[in-house]
Symmetry: C2
Subunit: 254 residues, 2 copies
């Protein structure tokens, strides 16, 4: 999950729940795949399976957009692709800038999933003068001194931050000051932005940590099941000599 928007209590956009909006890209991807195979119509059941959700949820999601299905038949694939694209705003061109052209920034610049959905990489920006002019993904990297000018000349409203954590807030401030109102943040920091600016974050290591949590739990349960014993307390860490709930800290509190 990536949250962090400016918490919009009233005005739930046209009545479409946030959770539904977050799933629309999923449906769109599945529909695009069907479209490429020239499948004319699809039922909620089939599409739900392809998108990895439950069919009731999918139908309710679509009901927020309107009645675009035909009872007894299903949904017209092309029609739905258009409707969802329009709802998401993908029928227009969105110029984006990527700031911070390290490994991740370069990967993002090369990522095909952007261009195919109306996102156009308008510029790549990096603070390292040695990078300036060097082409990445066919686009010459520009120096961050020109950030404001680049934003304004290209009418950019969406910025992607892929800098180290330390530089992220400063870059964010400059982007916002230059007119950017949506930010996708890959740096592991909490960005503070004024009202009216949306921030979404993607943290690569957070997802891994969540997996580790469940993985550990699985291992614990397994061991407990083998012992035929209590839920899951032992066989969790590596040092076994801990309290009844494994509470002994490495560093005691004051």
């Amino acid at each position: 999950m990536a949250t962090g928007r400016t918490h919009r209590p009233a005005t739930r956009s046209r009545g479409i729940p946030e959770a539904t909006v977050a799933r629309l890209p999923l449906y769109l991807r599945a529909l695009t795949a069907l479209s490429e195979r020239s499948v004319p119509t699809v039922s909620s059941e089939e599409l739900a399976a392809a998108a990895g959700v439950n069919s009731a949820k999918l139908r309710k999601d679509f009901s927020y957009l309107g009645s675009y299905g035909t009872r007894g038949v299903g949904y017209d694939v092309e029609y739905l692709v258009y409707q969802i694209s329009r709802e998401l705003g993908l029928t227009q061109d969105w110029p984006v800038v990527i700031v911070g052209i390290g490994n991740l920034g370069a990967a993002l610049a090369n990522y095909g999933g952007f261009a195919s959905r109306g996102f156009r990489v308008a510029a790549l920006i990096d603070a390292d003068p040695a990078m300036a002019g060097k082409p990445v993904a066919g686009i010459p990297v520009q120096h961050s001194d020109d950030l404001e000018k680049i934003i304004q000349d290209n009418g950019v409203s969406i910025g992607v931050i892929a800098t180290p954590a330390g530089a992220a807030q400063a870059v964010c401030d400059r982007l916002v000051a230059a007119g950017v109102t949506s930010i996708l943040n890959f740096a592991p920091t909490v960005l503070s932005v004024p009202d009216g600016v949306d921030v979404r974050k993607v943290d690569l290591s957070i997802e891994l940590q969540i997996l580790a949590f469940h993985e550990q739990r699985k291992a614990g349960e397994e061991a407990a099941a083998a012992d035929g014993g209590v839920p899951a307390a032992a066989a969790r860490g590596e040092s076994a000599d801990q309290g009844p709930d494994g509470d002994m800290p490495a560093v005691m509190p004051a």
Copy 2:
């Protein structure tokens, strides 16, 4: 958000809500930063601000772990770092493999956030024979023929998929067959896995699409406000000659 696990209805792990688990890495990051600055204690209010959440939520989250705070004082930073790390399973070593060493895979291999949290990149795997032996982030890439052996030799239980979408399911199946029980998927596909295997996905373009949705809505509201008119229906698409709700499709349904 990244969902897609095998839906665990009963056994909500030790009673810790999923939403809380997803925030623990956030707290941990903020606490680690405090620890590096040698801050001894922190109040829920301060820590919440640093993590970008509300303080009541943070206190409730911590209450699921136990009573680790001191009223009138706050939380002991080092102690809390340890407790959260232990809860997330980061006190043990997690060998991971990254499959698909393109731009993204290389970025992941170089990403510092893994190593600093108990994740060790045990191997890099790619299907391209030309990549074999080539070092990325100091680790020689191995060919995917040896995938099963690599998994077993290193006791890997967490796999990262950074291949093209078309190859993802096949790689996933092989990882699972070889013993991997947690998968972080960067490929834009829905993976199907047997029960007991957790999948989390990160889709770079989904987040951008969600931003576009809000961006479009902002633009629409702005225009409507300027017109002094109805909510947001006009000024959305580019072609203005549409129905009362902008419903005319580019492709009519059958």
